[in-house]
Point group: C2
Chain length 377, copies 2
């Protein structure tokens, strides 16, 4: 390894390799002084903490040039703050509680879309890996509806809800971004290697970890802040009470993003987390892609239609006429006086109402009496 790096991109690539992304102390130093100065500081003096010692131990075997070449071999690039396609909204990560506040050193980006443009109008659709058919249906429908209206769908590439979200977007030929907790060249989960390749072909597969890195449990939680930060809001489709996707929702709330939750049966463990979320004041109940767009969309650009209301022809009737209709029998026809007594309305008003009802096809006159017209009920 080189004793000194004077290129900011190489220095940031080096830091991805020697320090775990998400290390907030280091990230803050990089944000303040730049990565070149940070690497210089690491090398310049004997490490004072076990953590720094560990970073320094890793520097000799690290090679950012090799990582950049490995990325390039799978069609990936390394995007850093200051690049034209760096998404500025990632700066909001600094708003989070200290343990999550590390702005990424950079992002390894595989795919042909411009990262900044792809995420400009994007929504995170996330949820349980152990999802149900209900959740997968909802995730796929929401994503389909979102990309149809020009929104990109960001998710985590995992089994279950994440996979359904990516697939829904792909099936509508829309933009989708998978944010991984491993290298962009690592097929994880293995069963999603074809899906992740498809996402990389038409959308983007991105990660904070350099090529070859494998996913580890703590990396998923670190990764979630990036999903939340890239998007205008996070929709949790299904989640158990204690679930990683709820952490994405928490990060979103912490960055003043919209938190949306899909209701589900209270008898389903996989909806326990989303229903619990609905009890929180900061989260919004969404039941369609249109709802999501109404929440995240800018006024004037996106408008959700009202939910469909079945129309009842009786709605057009005034209350007296409705009451008269209720008093008209369905079978044997009866006289006006009888209807007036049943309805508790005077005979003259009843006569007037019956005229209206007959004109509207609600009642019919049979042998001088009135009954409900068969077809109208």
């Amino acid at each position: 390894m080189i004793g000194r790096i004077d290129d900011e991109r190489l220095a940031r690539a080096l830091l991805c390799r020697v320090a775990e992304p998400g290390e907030v102390g280091l990230a803050r130093r990089v944000a303040g002084e730049g990565a070149v100065a940070t690497v210089e500081w690491l090398l310049s003096q004997p490490p004072t903490t076990p953590q720094r010692r560990n970073w320094n131990e890793r520097i000799p075997s690290a090679s950012p040039e090799r990582d950049l070449a490995a990325a390039s071999a799978v069609g990936a690039r390394f995007v850093i703050p200051g690049d034209a396609e760096w998404p500025d909204q990632l700066a909001d990560i600094a708003m989070l509680p200290a343990e999550y506040a590390a702005i990424p050193f950079g992002l390894w980006v595989r795919g042909n879309l411009d990262l900044r443009a792809a995420c400009a109008r994007s929504v995170a659709v996330v949820g349980a890996r152990a999802s149900t058919a209900y959740g997968e249906y909802v995730a796929s429908e929401f994503s389909f509806g979102l990309v149809e209206r020009g929104w990109a769908v960001v998710s985590g590439g995992a089994y279950g809800i994440d996979g359904a979200a990516h697939r829904g977007a792909l099936s509508a030929c829309g933009d989708t971004v998978a944010v991984l907790a491993c290298g962009v060249d690592v097929a994880y989960p293995r069963g999603h290697s074809a899906l992740i390749d498809r996402v990389a072909t038409t959308g983007l597969v991105i990660s904070e970890w350099p090529p070859g890195c494998s996913p580890m449990r703590h990396r998923f939680l670190v990764r979630n802040r990036v999903i939340a930060a890239l998007t205008k809001g996070t929709v949790v489709v299904e989640a158990a009470i204690r679930s990683g996707s709820l952490s994405t929702a928490n990060r979103a709330a912490g960055m003043m993003r919209h938190v949306m939750s899909v209701p589900g049966p209270i008898t389903s463990t996989m909806s326990a987390g989303t229903n619990e979320l609905l009890k929180q004041p900061e989260s919004v109940c969404v039941t369609s892609a249109a709802d999501v767009i109404e929440v995240v969309g800018e006024i004037g650009t996106d408008l959700a239609p009202l939910p469909e209301m079945p129309t009842d022809p009786r709605d057009g009737l005034d209350s007296t006429t409705r009451r008269v209709l209720e008093a008209v029998p369905a079978r044997a026809a009866v006289g006006v006086a009888r209807i007036a007594r049943t309805a508790g309305i005077d005979v003259i008003s009843v006569g007037r109402s019956l005229g209206r009802l007959a004109a509207g096809g609600f009642v019919e006159n049979v042998d001088g009496g009135w009954r409900v017209r068969r077809e109208s009920t």
Copy 2:
């Protein structure tokens, strides 16, 4: 009929028969001047409106004594404002928009409980007639849980959710009140005649309409304000987008009562109304009887337990130790240096963490290397 009534109870019973309960003009006059004076006013001068003409036309054939006797024959009484068991909270009905603001002339009450006491700690559990198995399960579970904790369940006696709510309460030997839109001696719906009899035996069956009155469509909407007014809050379990039970929720909100809604699958028509309700700021998402009590209960009297969280033994570990555990392989045991490299943590800290993990039964030492203990995963 008598030309003059000087008994307030008889006068109110008369008004129940000649005027449709829910007539706000008449109800306001009764509230202001009493029923005796109101009947006198009706009889004293020629009617000036078709409505008044209709009321006067009905007076000759009305007989409050006969209605009271008919009530008595089925074990019912006629309770009016001022009676010891009159529920004072019904006065809040006057807060509603004019068309719903009629305070009942009185309530026909069938059953042995004290009406005021039964409704003092009560919740309305209502919903669709065309309910699903999910909704019926939820209604029955909620009611069971509510009466177990000393709350009475008020509902409308209808098929579907209402019936399940009453049954849930009865099955826990709890108090339940059916508020009908017909006479308390009328078995409606017919298929619920046994259920309504059971409710009358251990709980209460009540109505604004005198014995013998049949249910008419508009009466259900009028009735709903009483369900909302008697209770501390209304839980809608299942409802289509346009549904009578949503009107009960609206009345509850209009009287500053709690409005609660049970989430359901967004794919179910019968949950479309409840999920829509969850989007309204005035409604609260509830997923258990404990949730309901947390909303309606007075602080100090009722406490809901927190939702059950599955506990993960790893939760007790600090973040370094958790990260070390992630780096320990499941199969072939490896050395400390290798684990330190994978975890990105210095060797000394890793050694300390491995000690903790071994003590906790998470890892085991095999031939000088470390691997995850089989039973722990």
